[in-house]
């Protein structure tokens, strides 16, 4: 059978269980595809030996019956996840050569469910970026191109490697993390589905921290159903993460009926931005029509504090990051600068961090340090926290008024050229304008591919759900997916 690597998780699961294919075959197809896709720079630490060993074990489980849903499914793992004995560098020079002695809860659960890791995936350094251009491993290239134009496009970020790898069929799905849109924006840029779960649904233990109160891991896959299957394996209460919720994990997949008759979908007026491309407007209107067609009631809603979300996010996230990244000091692990005679501990810190961190990380550490400083704390950090509470309340109010889910564009544009926005951080930060509210409010959000722009690039829509109701949210996404009928794939040029 050809193109096994192009299968969805759901299809592969059936074929594996039916004995039509083996996990080893499936894994080999992915490894081969990954090997041939070096031009994308998505896989930065391939782990073929581990993959084949896991695949063999998965085949044994499959043949004995009762194998879990994820058994034998080849995945890519974002470099932000600590994987035991395998380089885990958060795409940063400061963690050069770092191989953890422990396995993150998410990867532990996935591996326990029989999933196979084909390698570690590229990303923005410490998940800070929206274009995957801040990685110490270099840029990730989007498998999509503007027609015959060979301009290299960004896959988005920070989970750019995950997005590229899934879109190019180097693996069936990948783990991502989302602090301000890092799953949803790249998913939209490459035409795949990406879910950011409710904050606390997935354990953060063993995931290198960027902004702890916002970070949440989630699945990036080829369909809503695949996200549902993978989320179930990733979720659950973890006593090692104090912010992980003590809630049972529902069978998300069983909730995907695609029937949303009578549900109320809100369209927030504040997400209609000045200068938003017409194509995005149109896509949004199409999405609205599709959901209406599926029997949902569409209502216009207001989330009045939306305009303060991005500034609040760019205070809270850097503040937490400045503290979270203080541990990278060259004392215990990772990079330590070569010191000159007479250098003391201060020079060790300064040189190590100057050499180890990239420009974007330094920028955010400095912003974060500044907003937490005496005299500025109230004006920035505390004000941002208050804004955050108001944004959360905006959502609570519309949900209380009967709205079941909210439909917005996922991104303000399609994938842009690498280098295009790199020198303008503010322009770059605007990529997160539709996604950060979800992180600030701790809600689940999903990006679903819904169409192509005039240049032939994918565009996505975002659905935002009620806390802990990922199942209901994915069901709305399923209805959207069913009607959008997005089947396009990038033409292979790599």
């Amino acid at each position: 059978m050809s193109n096994l690597n192009a299968l969805t998780i759901a299809d592969a699961r059936e074929k594996l269980r039916a004995g039509e294919i083996t996990s080893v075959e499936l894994t080999e197809a992915c490894l081969k595809a990954a090997d041939a896709a070096k031009a994308l720079n998505a896989v930065v630490h391939p782990t073929p030996e581990i993959a084949l060993e896991q695949a063999k074990a998965a085949d044994a489980r499959l043949s004995s019956g009762n194998a879990p849903d994820m058994c034998g499914i080849p995945l890519g793992i974002k470099d932000l996840f600590c994987t035991k004995g395998v380089a885990s560098q958060a795409a940063s020079g400061i963690l050069k050569g770092f191989k953890p002695e422990y396995e993150s809860t998410v990867t532990t659960q996935l591996f326990d469910a029989g999933a196979v890791m084909i390698g570690k995936l590229n990303m923005d350094e410490f998940a800070m970026g929206s274009s995957n251009e801040t990685s110490v491993y270099g840029n990730v290239i989007n498998p999509w191109r503007r027609g015959n134009d060979e301009t290299a496009l960004t896959p988005g970020g920070s989970s750019g490697g995950s997005a590229s790898a899934v879109a190019a069929d180097l693996c069936l799905a990948a783990t991502g993390t989302d602090t301000g849109g890092s799953i949803r924006q790249p998913a939209a840029f490459v035409g795949i589905t990406g879910l950011k779960p409710t904050y606390g649904r997935v354990s953060r233990w063993g995931v290198v921290a960027f902004a702890s109160s916002l970070d949440q891991a989630g699945p990036m896959a080829k369909s809503v159903r695949d996200c549902a299957i993978m989320l179930k394996a990733m979720s659950g209460h973890d006593p090692k993460d104090s912010t992980s919720a003590e809630l049972a994990v529902p069978d998300f997949e069983a909730m995907l009926t695609g029937n949303i008759k009578g549900q109320t979908i809100g369209i927030p007026k504040e997400y209609r931005m000045d200068g938003m491309p017409e194509e995005i407007e149109d896509l949004w209107a199409e999405g609205r029509a599709m959901l209406e067609d599926a029997g949902a009631k569409i209502v216009d809603i207001s989330l009045p504090h939306t305009k303060y979300a991005l500034p609040a996010y760019y205070v809270v996230a850097p503040a937490e990051a400045s503290s979270n990244l203080a541990r990278y000091d060259g004392v215990r692990y990772g990079h330590r600068a070569k010191l000159s005679h007479g250098d003391g501990v201060t020079e060790m810190y300064e040189k190590t961090r100057a050499e180890g961190f990239g420009a974007e990380v330094k920028r955010r550490v400095m912003i974060g340090t500044y907003v937490l400083s005496a005299g500025f704390y109230d004006a920035y950090y505390n004000r941002a926290r208050r804004v955050r509470a108001l944004i959360k309340k905006d959502f609570e109010d519309v949900f209380a008024a009967g709205v079941d889910a909210i439909l917005t564009p996922a991104t303000p544009s399609s994938a842009f050229a690498l280098g295009q926005e790199f020198d303008d951080p503010v322009q770059m930060y605007l990529n997160d304008v539709f996604t950060v509210t979800v992180n600030l409010a701790g809600l689940p959000g999903i990006a679903v591919p819904a169409g192509l722009d005039m240049q032939g690039l994918p565009l996505g829509l975002q659905l935002i759900g009620k806390p802990w109701e990922e199942g209901a949210l994915m069901n709305v996404a399923q209805a959207l997916e069913d009607r959008a009928g997005f089947v396009s794939k990038p033409s292979k040029w790599w």
Binding site: F81, C82, S88, A90, L95, F98, P100, E101, Y102, S104, R204, W205, G206, V207, V208, A209, A211, S212, S213, P239, K240, D241, S242, T243, A319, E320, S322, S323, L325, A326, R327, D329, V331, R332, Y333, V345, Y349, T369, L372, S373, A374, Y377, Y381
Partner: protein
């Protein structure tokens, strides 16, 4: 509980060139929580382990590692709060205090700046019988200890030991209610005593289980009273903080030296600058560590890895119900139940183990006599040999046996001391020893009379002298005691000698 009445001590006054000055002192005591594992990790807290052997991944701040609160440490903090009659905050929260240091792997200390677990409490600081100062406790919060940097093992390198990293500390912050160096030391003594009673801190200052930061300022007589009336700090002088004091003696010295330094500045027309200082006991001076301008900006903010700490009132009530009897209550009870002096009661209750030992000795016996023997004989002897009560060669049961023999009149006080010596060095049951070695007191008046008559008959010259000077009767008593090997009941001998001499 019956309260012992007390008066506050007089504040310490230092006479300067321009008049009298008073001291105002507040303490921040860092007490290591007695617990088997650390505040946010399962690593052991054992003191003196191999360097870097008690370190969990989270203690070393490995990427992606997260803190999880140790419930027992919370319980200990609550217990401490209850022991200090403090308000317990059912909701508290952890903050990060950010600064760089190699023995602080995370680059921040998790502490409780904005919402501490324990609020206002109080400590009655004893300054002598009937004199005590009620010092208000402002708050107690939980925080992580740092590791240890070692700079003297290599000429070019420093070493770091993370065993202490993340061990739970309680920071116990007093109000500026302390008015002299002796009071400050007594405050630490009393706090340590209460913590040891509660079992929430071992109070070992040598191992660093208890350390104090001392805030000192000076003011003119009358100013402090204005502060007390209004709680307005502007009535007080500018304070300096002396960091990391770990002995009662140095605390007193440092306060005195610092107060005099501030007075000299003020009398010179200069200002006291608010700053952190270190005490150098060799030079007997405090030195500036960092000024307010150089002070770290700790960039405190709520720790996003931890949810607010919520506890139940019912749980607090359970802890309250399990509190042991505390020093003040025990002291009052010793005075009332055993009829001892307040001073003796203070000595016996100073340490919870000593108090328990005493009660084992005294239960069912003469309490006053037991107190005497525990304080004078046992404590005296232990001190002489530099031993702790825990390894006393004489057990409470043995000492109780000795006290019982005295009470029954079986042995005299003098013989009892010999018996104590035997039990101390050889061991054994006191009653059996008395029987075996024939140490029992002679109370048979007939035998004593015979002896007295013999001595009177043999010493007519002494008899004549004694008749003129009755004090010389003691000579006859001594002779009888000598002749009976000290076993004659001294009271009986006295009476018989007096009667026979016709005194």
């Amino acid at each position: 509980m019956l309260d012992l009445t007390y008066e506050p001590p007089k504040p310490k006054v230092i006479s300067g060139a321009t008049g009298d000055w008073e001291l105002v002192i507040g303490l921040e005591v860092h007490a290591q929580v007695s617990s088997r594992s650390k505040l946010f990790s399962g690593a052991s807290t054992k003191f003196g382990s191999e360097p870097n052997s008690n370190v969990a991944f989270v203690d070393a701040a490995m990427p992606g590692m997260l803190p999880v609160i140790n419930e027992f440490c919370v319980e200990q903090a609550v217990r401490t709060g209850l022991g200090l009659k403090a308000e317990i905050n059912l909701v508290s929260a952890f903050d990060r205090k950010n600064y760089f240091y190699p023995d602080l792997p995370q680059g921040y200390q998790i502490s409780q700046l904005y919402h501490p677990i324990v609020g206002e409490g109080e400590i009655l600081v004893d300054m002598g019988p009937g004199i005590a100062r009620l010092v208000r406790v402002e708050r107690i919060h939980l925080e992580q200890d740092a590791g240890k940097s070692i700079h003297d093992m290599d000429p070019h390198m420093s070493f770091v030991d993370l065993n202490r990293t993340g061990v739970a500390l309680m920071e116990i912050v007093s109000r500026p209610d302390i008015r002299g160096p002796e009071e400050a030391a007594a405050y630490v003594v009393k706090l340590r005593q209460i913590l040891r009673y509660l079992g929430t801190c071992d109070g070992n200052m040598q191992n660093g289980s208890m350390r104090a930061d001392v805030n000192v300022s000076v003011c003119r007589p009358g100013d402090y009273e204005k502060y007390q009336e209004t709680q307005d700090f502007s009535h007080l002088g500018t304070r300096c903080e002396i960091k990391n004091m770990n002995s009662m003696r140095f605390i007193q010295q440092a306060i005195d030296v610092e107060a005099r330094r501030q007075i000299a500045l003020l009398e010179d027309g200069k200002e006291v600058v608010q700053e952190t200082r270190l005490y150098d006991p060799d030079k007997g001076e405090t030195r500036s560590m960092r000024s307010k301008e150089e002070a770290h900006d700790y960039r405190y903010f709520p720790c996003p890895d931890l949810l607010p700490l919520e506890i139940e009132q019912a749980w607090v009530d359970d802890i309250k119900a399990s509190l042991p009897e505390l020093p003040d209550a025990k002291r009052v009870r010793f005075v009332t139940d055993y009829g001892m002096t307040e001073y003796d009661a203070s000595v016996l209750t100073a340490d919870v183990e000593n108090a328990a030992f005493f009660e084992d000795v005294a239960t069912g016996r003469d309490g006053k006599l037991a107190a005497n023997w525990v304080i004078n004989e046992l404590f005296g002897r232990l001190k002489k040999e530099d031993r702790e009560i825990a390894d006393s060669p004489v057990s409470a049961a043995q000492l109780g046996g000795i006290v019982e023999l005295i009470s029954k009149g079986d042995i005299s006080g003098k013989i009892a001391k010999d018996l104590f010596e035997i039990v101390w060095t050889e061991g054994g049951d006191p009653a059996t020893l008395v029987e075996e070695r024939g140490m029992k007191q002679v109370t048979d008046t007939g035998a004593i009379e015979t002896e007295v008559e013999r001595i009177i008959a043999e010493n007519p010259a002494q008899v004549e002298k004694a008749k003129v000077n009755p004090k010389l009767a003691g000579w006859f008593v001594g002779q009888v005691m000598k002749a009976t090997g000290g076993k004659a009941n001294p009271q009986a001998v006295n009476e018989i000698v007096a009667a026979k001499l016709g005194l």
